[in-house]
């Protein structure tokens, strides 16, 4: 059984360490917050201007002035702070955030990441993703291994407009976990989702990779 989205984000949560400052991208990466191990202190940064993001508010306590980067209503913690967008990205660009978890349309063997537009079809904009991959110490991508058409999203070379060059450290898909190491050395498959075979991963992956798994 390949991993579900929840399994993938739970796996991503295992990369968290006590005391980390973490930025979670919109969409699937947001779910990583549900898997922070009890007793571990992780501070979530929201690039629209908040450190110490709390859970969704109780019904009736939602505040239009308090949203995350996905524009979802959230709550504050005793430890929270607010700041403007320039300050927020100073903290991101300046290397003060330990970890970023992002979604992707394509990840290439050389560590390139594409996640903001499909020319002529879909355009959402890069938001803060280009700044995050340029400044955060470690970048983890969580994505489905293949497109709906079955085409591999772990590619030899990105065909979509890039978000960053040589920026991905670790890739978690529904099939397994790959060390990308920003394109330094070969892509290495280090974990398989339960029940997924190496042959299946080989058949469904465009990029070359090495592995010690059998």
């Amino acid at each position: 059984m390949p991993w579900t989205r929840d399994d993938m984000t739970a796996r991503a949560a295992r990369e968290l360490k006590d005391g980390f400052y973490v930025n979670l991208g919109i969409g699937i990466p947001t779910l990583v917050a549900n898997h922070i191990p009890p007793g571990m202190e992780v501070t979530l940064q929201s690039e629209n201007g908040m450190l110490g993001m709390g859970p969704y508010p109780f019904e009736g306590e939602e505040d239009p002035d308090l949203v995350n980067a996905g524009k979802m209503t959230i709550s504050e913690l005793d430890s929270s702070s607010y700041f403007n967008s320039a300050e927020s990205f100073a903290m991101i660009r300046g290397g003060h955030i330990d970890l970023s978890v992002l979604g992707a349309m394509q990840v290439a063997a050389n560590g390139d990441l594409a996640n903001w537009m499909v020319p002529g079809k879909m355009v959402k904009g890069m938001g803060g993703a280009m700044d995050l991959v340029a400044g955060v110490k470690r970048v983890i991508v969580v994505m489905e291994h293949c497109e709906k058409s079955g085409r591999s999203k772990l590619v030899r070379e990105c065909t979509l407009p890039l978000t960053g060059k040589g920026v991905v450290d670790l890739l978690i898909t529904d099939l397994g976990v790959f060390e990308i190491n920003r394109g330094r050395g070969a892509v290495r498959l280090v974990e398989l989702a339960p029940g997924v075979t190496l042959e299946e991963v080989r058949a469904r992956t465009e990029a070359a990779f090495v592995t010690d798994l059998v």
């Binding site: 508010p57 939602e62 209503t73 355009v123 904009g125 938001g127």
Partner: protein, 239 residues
């Protein structure tokens, strides 16, 4: 000194608007947007606008209203994912868009207001954002030169303000508003509460009054929520 206080949004914008101008509008999504000033710009009918704003509202609210009314020629933004009309106009080539990474956008505006003509950043190196831009190596890393942004007018929204133009924002509604207040040739601020001078905590002012030329208290704020997410009251643990 003439008073900065204006009776309403239309009079606050009087004499400032012209076709082809550049407008900076604060807010992140629909959070912290100058609702009343956007409505007044729509009513004015001014067109061919270049609008600098992180997003472009949604269909039917915020800057989406100016888009629907055909008043915007170009957007300088980082993310427009919540606006179908925007996506369609852009793909059809009827709207010019300068996509700018969010942090670069914030810093370009900050630089514009701070008298810094350009700066270098790693953000966007090796992407389409770098096309046509100067690069330079510092300590073995490649950086991209980004130019400052200024505007003919900036419209911002704060929580509280006074006659001097001192502003305090609330929670994540602060976002781009403070930088934009500094980067408009004229800054018009709307506030939820215009309070007597002397009642704001002077240590807690986010935007000092020097940046704000005109100020008004909005008659009402819809403060529409873009994505309502809550947890049930029975739940004790965090969601």
């Amino acid at each position: 000194m003439a008073t900065k206080i204006q009776s309403d949004a239309a009079s606050a914008l009087s004499g400032l608007l012209f076709d082809g101008m550049t407008v900076m509008a604060g807010g992140f999504g629909l959070c912290g947007i100058p609702e009343n000033l956007i409505l007044a710009i729509r009513e004015s009918g001014v067109k061919d606008l270049t609008v600098v704003s992180n997003n472009c509202g949604v269909d039917g609210f915020g800057l989406g209203l100016l888009l629907e009314n055909g008043q915007i020629r170009k957007m300088i933004s980082s993310y427009v994912g919540e606006n179908e009309l925007f996506e369609r106009l852009y793909i059809e080539g009827r709207l010019e868009v300068e996509f700018t990474p969010q942090g670069t956008l914030a810093e370009r505006i900050r630089a514009g207001g701070a008298g810094i003509p350009a700066f270098y950043t790693r953000t966007g190196v090796g992407t389409v954002v770098a096309e046509g831009k100067e690069t330079r190596e510092f300590d073995g890393e490649t950086y991209l030169m980004e130019r400052a942004l200024k505007a003919d007018i900036s419209i911002v929204k704060a929580w509280k303000g006074d006659a001097e133009g001192n502003l305090i924002y609330r929670k994540t509604a602060r976002n781009f508003n403070p930088m934009m207040a500094t980067a408009g040739r004229v800054c018009v601020a709307e506030v939820e509460h215009l309070v007597p001078t002397g009642t704001l905590d002077k240590d807690m002012i986010h935007t000092p009054g020097v940046y704000v030329h005109r100020i008004l208290q909005g008659p009402a704020y819809e403060k529409r929520i873009e994505r309502l997410t809550t947890r049930p009251r029975s739940e004790k643990a965090s969601a």
